[in-house]
């Protein structure tokens, strides 16, 4: 297997590092149904074809830029994506945790209102309440028991699909609920 080395160009984060100009963390209701989202999961899996496409795209800065812009446009519209570059959607019922005002990756805080409202934006539903319902509707509720590691803030603005296919996302979450193995946090 040929290993494609890619120089990752440092670039200004375009999509909203917390505390800088850019989209704020506000709960976003997914516009894609849970069923379609889980179907899409099959298409986007890092299979041989996707890995090949990713490797080709990463060779050309222009192709990479265009690919990232396409990802941004579609995921912004569908999931309120903020381009953290390390997508958790496949294991959160396709409800983006970065829309949580606390950017919690391991489930909802204790402030969720009785009707499921976000404590910070009471007119919006908690992203985790939405995510739990969607995952459960597709028989994937156990995904929310996986332990999510802290994200790498250097990756804001990057394409998470390219990161996913290249295997750079492999350690984002544990394989299971971690109760039998007590997983180590691991170095970044």
């Amino acid at each position: 297997m040929t290993r494609v080395m890619v120089e990752i160009q440092p670039r200004p984060p375009a999509g909203g590092v917390p505390g800088t100009a850019g989209p704020r963390s506000v709960p976003h209701r997914p516009r894609l149904s849970a069923r379609l989202a889980y179907l899409m999961q099959k298409v986007l899996k890092p299979n041989a074809v996707n890995r090949r496409v990713g490797a080709v795209v990463e060779r050309s800065p222009t192709a990479r830029k265009m690919f990232t812009a396409t990802e941004r446009a579609s995921k912004e519209r569908l999931f309120g994506c903020r381009m953290c570059g390390q997508c958790a959607l496949p294991v959160t019922g396709y409800s983006c945790p970065m829309g949580c005002p606390k950017e919690l990756r391991n489930g909802p805080c204790g402030g969720v209102g009785p009707g499921g409202a976000c404590e910070v934006y009471p007119d919006k539903k908690c992203v985790w309440v939405v995510g739990f319902e969607r995952a459960a509707s597709q028989g994937a509720a156990a995904d929310l028991r996986r332990m999510q590691r802290p994200i790498d803030h250097r990756r804001w603005g990057e394409s998470s699909w390219l990161n996913y296919w290249a295997g750079r996302d492999d350690n984002l979450w544990t394989d299971d609920d971690g109760l039998s193995s007590q997983p180590v946090m691991g170095a970044q």
């Binding site: 489930g107 802290p150 971690g178």
Partner: protein, 318 residues
């Protein structure tokens, strides 16, 4: 050495309470309140800028309480104000000063405090912070992989609100924190015993009750004003069930305090009988004077412990 851990391990009903550090550059007032709780509680939480209001830091507050010799502190730590560098650094500081009991939580959003324009940090969440502390203790490493010499000794706690949606997920979230390293869990106010019992049952089904001590949160509604405030829906994470509101509204305004205390005593007595529950966490900051009476009403006898604590106080006078 964590006496809280030792007490929980004996299986005796354990009591923790809460002290919020003052807004001011002296811990004296907090130590006076700690003195009122001496012997009555096994450990006391020192809150971390509670409600996103700036106070003396939980780190310094916990150290002051520890040095006073009144009660063993539990240092609270939220994810709101510090990134992973500062959090790990403060954890090392706590370890160096022998502050072993820790309690991790996400933290209220800055929006609710006295600096609503502050940057919400949330670099890690509470599960990740719990996991970090366990990694530092058990692997003797920072999460960067760099080695620690020596590793800190911690007794690690976490929180859960069993009453917030999605209810079916709440035990799983607690189990996640237990997998991350939580050895005890304090809960949000328990007013609804049925929902609480369901949550503890769920934890049992997940097989985590033998790995973690559960302390049920107990609050006292002291006045009509407090009832109005807590039932307004404006306090994050606090829900007062309709029957409780009805009961307290049903008595004369002057008697709400007494009825609220009676209600709290009933909750303590009820959770005491629940298998899997190791004790209570009194969310009663500012109620230190009345705490002994509340515990007596709930049928908890601490006279031996209080006697011992007071005897210890006179013998170890500096």
């Amino acid at each position: 050495m964590s006496t809280l851990r030792d007490r929980l391990a004996t299986g005796e009903f354990t009591i923790t309470a809460e002290l919020s550090p003052p807004r001011g550059a002296s811990a004296a007032a907090m130590l006076t309140r700690a003195e009122l709780l001496r012997g009555w509680v096994d450990a006391v939480n020192i809150t971390d800028n509670q409600g996103s209001h700036v106070r003396l830091s939980s780190w310094a507050g916990a150290l002051a309480v520890k040095q006073s010799g009144t009660i063993e502190p539990i240092m609270q730590m939220t994810c709101r104000d510090r990134n992973r560098i500062a959090l790990q650094s403060d954890l090392l500081g706590a370890g160096a000063h022998g502050i072993e009991n820790l309690l991790f939580m996400s933290g209220d959003h800055p929006k609710f405090g006295d600096h609503p324009g502050a940057k919400p940090v949330f670099d890690m969440d509470s599960t990740q912070l719990t996991w970090t502390a366990r990694t530092m203790r058990d692997e003797a490493k920072l999460i960067s992989g760099k080695e620690l010499n020596p590793a800190p000794r911690f007794f690690i706690g976490a929180v859960e609100n069993p009453f917030a949606p999605p209810l079916e997920y709440r035990a799983q979230r607690a189990a996640k924190k237990i997998a991350a390293g939580a050895q005890f869990i304090q809960t949000q106010y328990v007013f609804d015993i049925d929902v609480f019992r369901r949550w503890v049952t769920d934890l049992g089904e997940l097989g985590v009750l033998d790995r973690c001590f559960i302390l049920a949160g107990v609050g006292v509604i002291r006045s009509v004003r407090m009832l109005d405030f807590l039932s307004s829906g404006r306090v994050p994470g606090v829900q007062i069930p309709e029957p409780v509101v009805r009961r307290l509204r049903g008595v004369a305004p002057d008697d709400v305090g007494a009825e609220g205390a009676l209600l709290a005593a009933e909750v303590i007595a009820a959770v005491r009988d629940l298998p899997g529950v190791s004790g209570v966490h009194l969310l009663t900051a500012g109620y230190e004077k009345q705490t002994p009476e509340l515990l007596r009403m709930a049928g908890i006898d601490r006279s031996a412990l209080v006697g011992r604590a007071l005897a210890g106080k006179s013998s170890d006078a500096h």
